[in-house]
C-alpha cells in the first residue's frame, strides 16, 4: 500500500510546474532588498554622492572598506561640498554583505545592488576600487572631476527635511 502512495506522490510532482531555475540561462528576479555588490551612486547632475567620510568603513564589521578623503576645488570637483573620496576600496573577500555600510552612509552614496556574480583569481582583484564601484554618470551628464562655477556646490550634506 505504502508503495502505491509513494508512487502517487512522485506522479503528482511530475505534472507540477518545476521550481528550479535554469541558472545561468534563466535568472530569478531579485527582491529589492537583495544585497549584492556595492555601487557608489551619483546625483542626477552626475556629481558623486560620496563625501569620503569613512563612516561606512567605521560601521563595517568586517573591516572591508578603505576610504581616503581629499578636498574638492571648483576647478576639480567630484562631489558637492568640500570633501570627496580620493580612494575608495572594498575588499569583497572580507565583505559579508551585511549592508551596514549603506545604513551608515549619510548621503546614501554606497548601496548594495543586485550584482552578485563576483569571481576573482587572486586576492588583489578582490579589492574593488573606486573606478569599479562608481556608477557611470546619468545620460547626458558630465562625469567627475569637472570644473564648476564657484559657489554653486558649497554644501556636502543634502538638505534635510524639517522635523515634523
Amino acid at each position: 500500500m505504502n508503495v502505491i502512495r509513494g508512487f502517487a506522490t512522485t506522479l503528482k510532482h511530475l505534472f507540477m510546474e518545476p521550481v528550479t531555475y535554469q541558472y545561468p540561462e534563466e535568472e530569478r528576479p531579485f527582491r529589492d532588498r537583495y544585497k549584492g555588490r556595492h555601487v557608489l551612486k551619483r546625483y542626477d547632475n552626475g556629481l558623486e554622492k560620496c563625501i569620503g567620510c569613512a563612516l561606512c568603513a567605521a560601521a563595517c564589521p568586517a573591516d572591508a572598506i578603505w576610504v581616503e578623503a581629499a578636498e574638492n576645488t571648483d576647478e576639480e570637483r567630484y562631489s558637492p561640498g568640500e570633501r570627496y573620496a580620493k580612494t575608495y576600496e572594498i575588499n569583497m573577500l572580507r565583505c559579508i554583505f551585511c549592508g551596514y555600510c549603506a545604513d551608515a552612509c549619510p548621503t546614501e552614496a554606497i548601496v548594495l545592488e543586485h550584482e552578485h556574480r563576483l569571481s576573482f583569481t587572486n586576492r588583489r582583484d578582490a579589492i574593488y576600487t573606486k573606478t569599479e564601484l562608481l556608477e557611470p554618470p546619468p545620460e547626458g551628464m558630465p562625469g567627475t572631476p569637472r570644473q564648476v562655477e564657484p559657489g554653486t556646490f558649497d554644501r556636502a550634506i543634502p538638505e534635510m527635511e524639517d522635523p515634523k
Partner: protein, 864 residues
C-alpha cells in the same frame, strides 16, 4: 598645604581646595562632569556659553548666633539660588551645595544645545573634529533628540575661510565660545583674532597682517570645542578614530615638547604608515598642553621624498648609490687609513643612543675627539652644578619670583618657554629681559636691559657686583658651601654700573630662573655668560631647589644630551682649526659654516651620516642615511635635563638606519662588538657608564606623572585634543647643587663687547624659528611663512652705505657672502647688522664677525 573646604555635590561631600573653580573641583575631586564649552581650565572663565548651568545653594545660618539652621531630620537647611548659575564662573566656598542632575539643570542643558545647534551645519561627516568633538559628545549626552528648528531658517555662512596659510575657519560651525581669541590674548599675547559683528552673525576674523600671524596658531584647533578651526596640514587626512597615536618628542628645539604622532596607512605613500598630524601630549612640566607651529607642522621631514634613502660612496669623484655593506666597507677602509687621527662632529638632533654609538666608535678607533655642533657654544660645565633643579616648572613662578632672560630671543629660539615665561610674568613674577635689541618678550618685562653685542657677561657681572655690594646675598650658603667667593668678590670690586634695581629684584626673589642663550655671542662670550650667571645664582642662593637655576637656550633638541655624553663644542673648534685626517660628521650640516666647509675640504676622508643629501654630504666620501625621530625609538635630553623617550611611529625611509646602529656596523670592522639589538640596550650601556644617567632606562621612562588638570586624560573635561601623557613624561636629572657638595664661583674674564671700527659693521647671526634647513623646510605648507633671507640694518648705517629698505644687498664676511634683502629700521643698534641664520643655503659664519654690506640692486618699486 592649601586650605580645603567641604563642597557638597549631588548630596555627597568632598574636601576640595578653597578657591578652586567649581567645574575643576567637580571633575577632579568628585568625578562629576559638568559640561562646558567656553570654559577651559587653562583660560580665564568668561561664562559665555551657559552650558555649565547648575543649581547652587548655601547652608543657612542663624543671623545672630551664626549657628547652622537644621531641618527636622538634622540635615542643614539650604538656600538654593533662585536661578541656575554658571559653574565655570563660580569658585568653591565653604558650605556650598551643588546639584548637577536636577530636572531644571538637565532642561537648561537641552535648551542651550538646541540653541547652539539651531545654527550649526551638522556636517559632522566631513568635519575633521567629528569623532572627537565636544559639541557632538555633549549633544549625545545632554542634548534633545529632536529640534524644533525650521531648517530653512538656518544661518549660512562661509565654510572655507583660510585664516592664514595654516588654519581654516568654518564660520557655520563656530559656537562663539571665544576660546581661540582668549588663547591668543591670554596665553600667547598675540593680538591676531577677534570677533566681528553681533548676534547670530558673530564671526571670528583675523586682525593681523599677515593673517593669523603667530607661532602658536595650531593650538586654537586643539581647544576649539567644535570643528570651526582645523589645520591645513591635517585637512581631511583621516577620521580621528582611524588614527594611532604614537608618543614622541619634538626634535626642533631645546624645550622638548611632548607630542603624539597620529599615524595611519596611506595609499599615496604606497600603503605604508605615515604621520597624519602632530598633537600636543600633556606634560605640565614641559609644554603643558601647547606646542608651537614648528613642532606641529614641521614633521614632514620624516618621510620627505628629498631624503637620502640609500648609502652613497664616492667613485671616481662622483657620489654613487651603494649597498650598506659596500658603504660600511668603504668607510672602514677610509677610517683605517687615518689611524687614530679621527674626529666625530655630531649635531643636536641625534638621540642619546646615536651619540653613544658614535662615542663608542670613536673610542674604539682610539680617538677622543667628540665635537658638538655648532662650534659656537661655550663651556657648559657650570650647568652641571647650577642647571635648573629638578622639579622646576615655569608654571609655579608667580608673585615674588623672578626670571632673567638674557641673550636670547625666546620666541624664536624656544617658543613654548616664551609662552610660559610670559605667563609667569602675567602671574606677577618679575621678568627682566636683557638683550642687544628689542625682542617680543620685552613687552612683558618689568625691566629691560640693553648691552652691546658680546657684552652679555658684563651685565651679569654688574648684577653680581651690585648684589654683593648691597649684601643681597645668601650668606649662610656662601659660608657653608661656596668655594671661590673671596676671589670673586675681589675680582668684582671694581666692577660698577650694574643695574641696582634689576639686581635687587633678581637677588631678592624667592625663586629665580636665569634663561641664557648665546645670541650675538661667540664661544668665549658664551662661556663667560654661563659662568657669570652661575656666579649670580650661587651667591644669591638661587640654586639647588626647584624653580631655581640656570636654563640654557641650546640650539637643538638634544644639545644637552650630547654635552652629558661627553661631546663638546670646544672639540669641534679644535677640529675646525686642526682638522683630523678623517672626519665623521653625523646629523650636522657643518658646510653651512665656512669654517666647517673648509674642514671638510682639508680632511682626507669624510664619512657623513645624514637625513638629507645636504652640502656636507656632497663633500663627503661616504654618506650613510640615518633615521629621524619618528622612525625609531630613542631618547632626548631637553635643556632642563629631562630625559624623554620617543617611540617608533612609522617604518624607516628607504634603507636608513639609526645612527647608533650605523656606527656599530662600522665599529665591527675595528673589533668592536656587533650592534646591539635595540636602543634600550644602548641606553643600558649609557646608564652603566654615565653617572647622571644611572637610573635611566627605557622602562623607567614610560612612567607618567599625574597631570593636573587632567586635560588630555579625561573624557569629559572638554579641554580639546591634547593627548594624555601616554608613553611617559620623562625623568629630570638632578643638578649637582641639589646634593651637599661644594658650589664653585669664579671670577669671569668677560670678553666685553665686540669692537667695530667707525666704518665697519658687525654682522651678527641670529636664530629664527622658521628657517630653510631641510628638517623644517620639507614641510611645504610652511614655505610662505619662512621669511625671505634678510639683514636688519640701522638707519644710520643704511644711510652711510646708501642702502634703502628692500634693496638687495650682499653681506660678506670672512670670505663668505650671502645675497639678501635689506630691512632698515631702528631694530639693529648702530654698527650692527643682524643676519638670520639658515634662511638661504649659502654658508655664513655662525658667530659675530666684522663684515661689509654692499648694495647690488635697488628695491623694486612698490606695487610691482
Amino acid at each position: 598645604m592649601t586650605e580645603t573646604v567641604t563642597l557638597h555635590i549631588d548630596g555627597v561631600s568632598y574636601e576640595v581646595p578653597a578657591g578652586m573653580n567649581l567645574v575643576d573641583a567637580a571633575r577632579v575631586y568628585a568625578g562629576v562632569e559638568i559640561p562646558v564649552f567656553c570654559y577651559h581650565p587653562k583660560l580665564e572663565p568668561v561664562g559665555m556659553c551657559r552650558m555649565c548651568l547648575v543649581d547652587i545653594g548655601f547652608e543657612m545660618r542663624d543671623r545672630e548666633s551664626g549657628e547652622l539652621l537644621l531641618n527636622e531630620d538634622g540635615t542643614p537647611q539650604i538656600r538654593w539660588g533662585r536661578k541656575l548659575e554658571t559653574a565655570c564662573t563660580t569658585t568653591v566656598r565653604a558650605g556650598m551645595h551643588v546639584r548637577t542632575m536636577t530636572e531644571p539643570v538637565q532642561e537648561a542643558r537641552k535648551d542651550v544645545l538646541e540653541f547652539l545647534l539651531s545654527s550649526h551645519p551638522l556636517d559632522c561627516p566631513i568635519c575633521d573634529k567629528g569623532g572627537e568633538c565636544p559639541l557632538q559628545s555633549l549633544t549625545m549626552r545632554h542634548g534633545p533628540a529632536t529640534s524644533r528648528m525650521v531648517l530653512e531658517d538656518k544661518m549660512h555662512l562661509a565654510k572655507h575661510v583660510p585664516l592664514g596659510d595654516l588654519i581654516y575657519l568654518d564660520r557655520e560651525r563656530c559656537i562663539q565660545c571665544a576660546r581661540c581669541i582668549r588663547f591668543q590674548d591670554e596665553i600667547v599675547g598675540d593680538d591676531v583674532l577677534a570677533f566681528h559683528e553681533r548676534g547670530r552673525r558673530l564671526q571670528i576674523v583675523t586682525i593681523s597682517d599677515p593673517p593669523f600671524d603667530t607661532y602658536f596658531s595650531g593650538n586654537t584647533t586643539d581647544i576649539c570645542p567644535v570643528g570651526a578651526l582645523t589645520t591645513a596640514d591635517f585637512r581631511f587626512g583621516a577620521r580621528p578614530w582611524e588614527l594611532q597615536d604614537v608618543p614622541s618628542i619634538c626634535p626642533h628645539c631645546p624645550v622638548g615638547c611632548n607630542i603624539v604622532a597620529s599615524t595611519r596607512l596611506d595609499r599615496d605613500a604606497g600603503g605604508v604608515k605615515v604621520i597624519k598630524r602632530i598633537l600636543p601630549r600633556q606634560n605640565e612640566a614641559v609644554n603643558e598642553i601647547w606646542i608651537c607651529d614648528k613642532g606641529r607642522f614641521g614633521h614632514h621631514h620624516s618621510l620627505s621624498p628629498d631624503r637620502l634613502a640609500a648609502p652613497l660612496i664616492r667613485k671616481n669623484g662622483e657620489l654613487v648609490e651603494a649597498s650598506w655593506d659596500e658603504a660600511i666597507q668603504a668607510a672602514a677602509e677610509g677610517l683605517q687609513a687615518a689611524g687614530k687621527n679621527v674626529g666625530v662632529i655630531a649635531g643636536p638632533m641625534l638621540s642619546n643612543e646615536d651619540l653613544w654609538g658614535l662615542r663608542e666608535l670613536a673610542e674604539g678607533l682610539g680617538s677622543k675627539r667628540l665635537g658638538l655642533w655648532p662650534a659656537s657654544l661655550g663651556d657648559a660645565k657650570p650647568l652641571d652644578e647650577v642647571g635648573v633643579a629638578s622639579g622646576t616648572n615655569f608654571a609655579a613662578l608667580g608673585k615674588g619670583d623672578a626670571v632673567l632672560v638674557i641673550a636670547t630671543d625666546l620666541e624664536e629660539e624656544a617658543p613654548i618657554w616664551y609662552l610660559r615665561v610670559k605667563q609667569a610674568a602675567d602671574r606677577g613674577a618679575a621678568l627682566i629681559v636683557a638683550n642687544t635689541r628689542t625682542t617680543k618678550l620685552d613687552h612683558y618685562a618689568a625691566q629691560t636691559l640693553r648691552f652691546a653685542v658680546g657684552g652679555a657677561a658684563d651685565v651679569l657681572n654688574g648684577l653680581t657686583a651690585a648684589a654683593i655690594g648691597q649684601k643681597w646675598i645668601a650668606e649662610d650658603l656662601i659660608e657653608s658651601r661656596v668655594s671661590g667667593f673671596g676671589d670673586l668678590q675681589k675680582a668684582l670690586k671694581n666692577v660698577s654700573g650694574g643695574d641696582e634695581d634689576a639686581a635687587e629684584v633678581l637677588a631678592r626673589a624667592e625663586n629665580l630662573v636665569i634663561v641664557a642663550g648665546n645670541d650675538g655671542l661667540d664661544a668665549e662670550g658664551h662661556t663667560a655668560l654661563l659662568q657669570a650667571a652661575a656666579n649670580f645664582l650661587i651667591v644669591t642662593g638661587h640654586v639647588g631647589r626647584a624653580h631655581n637655576g640656570l636654563l640654557p637656550v641650546w640650539p637643538g633638541a638634544n644639545t644637552q644630551g650630547a654635552l652629558d655624553l661627553g661631546y663638546e663644542s670646544a672639540d669641534t673648534r679644535r677640529m675646525l682649526s686642526r682638522t683630523p685626517r678623517a672626519l665623521l660628521v653625523a646629523g650636522a650640516d657643518i658646510a653651512a659654516d665656512p669654517a666647517g666647509a673648509k674642514a671638510l675640504q682639508k680632511a682626507d676622508f669624510v664619512v657623513c651620516m645624514t637625513l638629507f643629501p645636504d652640502a656636507t654630504a656632497e663633500a663627503a666620501d661616504v654618506v650613510l642615511p640615518i633615521q629621524s625621530t619618528t622612525e625609531r625609538d630613542g631618547t632626548f635630553t631637553n635643556a632642563e635635563r629631562r630625559v624623554q623617550r620617543f617611540y617608533t611611529a612609522h617604518g624607516p625611509l628607504g634603507e636608513s638606519l639609526s645612527a647608533w646602529e650605523a656606527a656599530a656596523l662600522l665599529g665591527q670592522h675595528f673589533g668592536l662588538p656587533a650592534p646591539r639589538y635595540n636602543p634600550a640596550l644602548v641606553m643600558k650601556a649609557i646608564a652603566a657608564a654615565v653617572k647622571p644617567y644611572a637610573d635611566i632606562s627605557f622602562p623607567a621612562l614610560t612612567a607618567a606623572e599625574v597631570q593636573m588638570p587632567p586635560i588630555g586624560e579625561a573624557k569629559g573635561f572638554y579641554g580639546g585634543t591634547a593627548r594624555p601623557p601616554i608613553g611617559g613624561t620623562g625623568i629630570q636629572l638632578p643638578a649637582r647643587s641639589e646634593g651637599r657638595g661644594k658650589l664653585h664661583v669664579k671670577p669671569v674674564d668677560a670678553p666685553g663687547a665686540f669692537e667695530v671700527g667707525e666704518d665697519e659693521l658687525l654682522v651678527v647671526p641670529v636664530r629664527r624659528l622658521y628657517d630653510r634647513t631641510p628638517e623644517f623646510a620639507s614641510s611645504k605648507l610652511m614655505h610662505d611663512r619662512i621669511p625671505q633671507p634678510f639683514v636688519a640694518l640701522n638707519e644710520a648705517d643704511a644711510a652711510r652705505l646708501g642702502v634703502a629698505s628692500g634693496d638687495t644687498v650682499e653681506v660678506s664676511a670672512d670670505g663668505a657672502a650671502v645675497t639678501v634683502t635689506a630691512v632698515v629700521d631702528d631694530y639693529a643698534p648702530q654698527g650692527v647688522a643682524f643676519l638670520p641664520l639658515r634662511l638661504s643655503a649659502d654658508p655664513f659664519p655662525m658667530i659675530p664677525v666684522t663684515g661689509t654690506v654692499t648694495r647690488v640692486a635697488e628695491a623694486l618699486p612698490v606695487g610691482d
